[in-house]
């Protein structure tokens, strides 16, 4: 489903990604772990299409199509979803309106009928209840005045509504307590099916206990240094990144 080859990218002239090769087949969940500044968030932004990141080499194919040639909204319509590490506040934009606009934009792009306000609210209420979100979160402005945990849950709500084919979770677990962590993991697990994949960027083994990955990759210095099964996450938890980065040096 997702094929990244030789991907290099820079921000304001500074190279961050230095040749990433990664394949995430349909139906699999892959975790990316790595020390701070290793390029994890850059990778997620490049995949979602942020303009201030410059791709200097390599390619990304999504279902065979050239993902890097697509505008961010086209990537979303094709099924790519990025759960932001720091979800953006939109003062003056009502959360329910935002969610409905996004959902209908994607449905339109996919040739599906749009949902009216009543149909949408019914769906959104059911989903937010499943995520144990207070109902007034739909009425508030997008992420404005939300706690860290509420913002992350709002990302998961968007993911649940938009039903992506590839979810990229950029440290969605950071700053969450155990209960919120379970909710996030359950939210992703509920989407798991043969045509769904996820790329889970995390610092912690904790999330991966509930959201068990098929593969774990260690990213450091803009390269994937090691890949393995779920046991690699446990190894990192006990031994840290030092051994791996030292071995690669």
């Amino acid at each position: 489903m997702l094929e990244i080859s030789g991907l290099a990218a820079s921000v304001e002239g500074t190279p961050i990604l230095r040749g990433i090769d990664l394949v995430v087949p349909s139906g699999e969940v892959h975790a990316i772990m790595g020390p701070n500044g290793s390029g994890k968030s850059t990778l997620s932004y490049v995949l979602a299409g942020r303009e201030d990141y410059t791709v200097t080499a390599g390619s990304v194919r999504f279902d065979g199509a050239d993902l890097l040639a697509m505008e961010p909204e086209m990537r979303a319509a094709a099924g790519v979803f990025l759960a932001f590490q720091a979800p953006v506040e939109l003062p003056g934009v009502n959360n329910a309106n935002f969610l409905r606009t996004a959902l209908n934009a994607i449905r339109r792009a996919r040739g599906e009928p749009e949902l009216d306000a009543v149909q949408f609210l019914k769906l959104a209420r059911a989903q937010s209840k499943a995520l144990a979100m207070p109902e007034d979160m739909l009425k508030r402005n997008v992420n404005v005045g939300f706690s860290g945990g509420e913002k992350k849950r709002n990302e998961v709500l968007q993911m649940a509504l938009l039903r992506p084919r590839l979810a990229i979770l950029d440290e969605t677990d950071s700053g969450l307590d155990i209960d919120a962590l379970r909710i996030v993991a359950d939210g992703v697990n509920a989407l798991r099916r043969p045509e769904f994949s996820a790329l889970v960027i995390t610092h912690h083994q904790r999330l991966l206990e509930r959201l068990v990955p098929d593969r774990v990759h260690v990213l450091a210095g803009g390269r994937i240094l090691r890949s393995g099964g779920p046991e690699l996450a446990r190894e990192l938890e006990t031994r840290g990144y030092g051994a791996i980065t030292a071995a690669a040096a």
């Binding site: 942020r50 961010p72 909204e73 319509a77 003056g92 934009v93 996004a102 968007q158």
Partner: protein, 420 residues
Amino acid sequence: MTVPMSRGEAGFLGRFEAERASLPGAPGPRAAAAEAFRALGLPGASSGRRAEAWKYTSLRALAEAGFAGSLSVAETDMAMVPRLAATRLVFVDGRFRADLSDPAPGIFGSARAPEFGPLAQPARDPLVALNTMLAEDGAAIEVADGDDAGVVQIAHLASAAAGQAIACHPRHLIRLGAGARLVLLETMSGTGRYLHNPVSEILLGPDAALSHLRLQEEADDAFHLATLYAELAARARYEAFTLNLGARLARTEIHARLAGPDGFVALNAAQLLGGAQHADMTTVVRHDAPRGASRQTVRSVLSGRARGVFQGRIEVARGAQKTDGYQRSQALLLSDAAEIDTKPELEIFADDVKCSHGATVGALDPEQLFYLRSRGVPEAPARAMLVRAFLDESLDAVTHKAARAALDAAIARAWEREAA
């Protein structure tokens, strides 16, 4: 040395000379206003005085234009005038149209004579001099002590006849007695090239409350120059909200004086401008009594070469202790050539007051834009959403439902025109 008068100035004075005998009402104030206009000239015209109050707005284009007197044509496109209230006074080219209006007791579109109230300053303000000199008509609204007059709409429609640029100078007088209440919805629209130069005098008795919404949707080629004076007795409330969308050049000048203690004034505005539009909000709030509060927030969205101006002046007299004044300008610039000029002025002679001002200017936040696009919303609607959100925050001050809906619809129309 005498500077030759511009075509526009000479035209207005010539019209006054030709029509002075037939203009309604007492001739004294008009003759004095004509003298004042001759002396002051139009700001920005070669003969006009350089006034600080007109630092950012020049009326040169107006001075160089020629305008005929107002001509009401029989055919009026009422589809351009939204119906916002059961009581509606319709003015076409500055003249009251009884056939199109639905007045209520105590509320007149006075076809008799414009009432010159006590607040206007024709000797100081050139456009007010022009209005006083040539005013033919205007709304007269009087709400008796303790009455709630509900909602009244004043609709002004300019229907400039083909090829003929017209000028109209309506003169409105609004009086609310002690404890009286009114919601006043003013809509201003038109077609063609014209000058709409209204002057409103607003007198609020003790405990009176006036909510005043102004929707300025004048034609693309119009000049809109409105001057409002409000005076508040003790505990009175005047809450004005202006939405500037139309006109090539618009200026809204509001003078509000808190004459009695514990008054409240809000002079808020939002403007959405594009092309070469210029809109100027100029306010003077004078606190003459203790414990008054004033609030002003102007939000501007500017694209193309549009220019927005907010000059806000707060004056606090010596005895006006515990005054609480606040003004804020927030601008969103959608192009490099757009410009906002903000000039706050505080003049404070009391020692126990709280007065503040602030200004912010920015572009659309690329992170917000990316967030929306990453959720599937294409760039153009994503930009529209963020602009709307920026304006909506100021529109939240408008609690009257039908008025809010009319403002929302007007913004949507303006944005579509902008995007087209």
